[in-house]
Symmetry: C2
Subunit: 115 residues, 2 copies
DNA sequence: CCAACTGTATTACCCGTATAATACACCCGT
DNA sequence: ACGGGTGTATTATACGGGTAATACAGTTGG
């Protein structure tokens, strides 16, 4: 979980990636707040904040006392995947252009650093 | 000055880019703290923090009462350029790999989004 | 049934970032 | 020389992110 953006956003993004790739599908159980926070070594409140956001976005469903689970349609999952991919690409391209390199130079740099 | 990292770091990075590209060279005067802060619409203390960092890195020189100016060797400027470029590329590649795309797919996506 | 686990909520605290308002010592051009 | 601009410093305030400790209501499985 490397990165400097807020932890709770890293968690939501990570789960969205799993949803986008199909590793997490509708009906799948999620680790409890306490469980995941212990595993990640962060505060339960931080995980709760992430789960709350995901619930507000309609991606997961929670009931008091019971475990939370993924709750979305296939179309929604696919749309999430497209959105994440596009955002990632756009950000990478913006960053690459800012270096002042040409497209060809940038591409060959990316190829050189890929492994 | 778009981005979500601390403003004072955005300022140092921006000035380092100008140094790396040669638009700012040894001896060049910098805008005063108050001037730049007014132009950017941020607090003078924030600019001061950025300038202080740059001075600690030995990139600029300040004297009480007088304007600050760029102070570095050509080798240092070139080294900064290399370091920035490498960091940018590495970050972009990391981000691209995380999407799960293959190298070829990533490259064609970058080409498609370049303009 | 009931103990263990779950989601939820609240309160307090810390740290980094950023703003705001001053104040002071210093340089420089007119 | 002197006034305006400069670097520098200090204090206070605010906010978001994160931690910590605790409490309560609800579900669930043995």
């Amino acid at each position: 979980m490397e990165g400097s953006s807020p932890i709770y956003l890293q968690i939501t993004d990570y789960l969205k990636r799993l949803i986008a790739s199909g590793e997490l599908a509708d009906g799948d159980m999620l680790p409890s707040r306490r469980e995941l926070s212990a595993y990640l070594g962060v505060n339960p409140n931080t995980v709760q904040k992430a789960y709350r956001l995901l619930e507000e976005e309609g991606l997961i469903s929670s009931r008091l006392g019971a475990k939370s689970y993924i709750s979305l349609t296939d179309e929604r999952a696919e749309e999430i995947g497209r959105r994440i991919l596009e955002g990632e690409i756009r950000a990478a391209v913006t960053s690459l252009k800012r270096t002042g390199l040409t497209l060809d130079e940038a591409v060959s740099m990316v190829e050189r650093y890929w492994d």
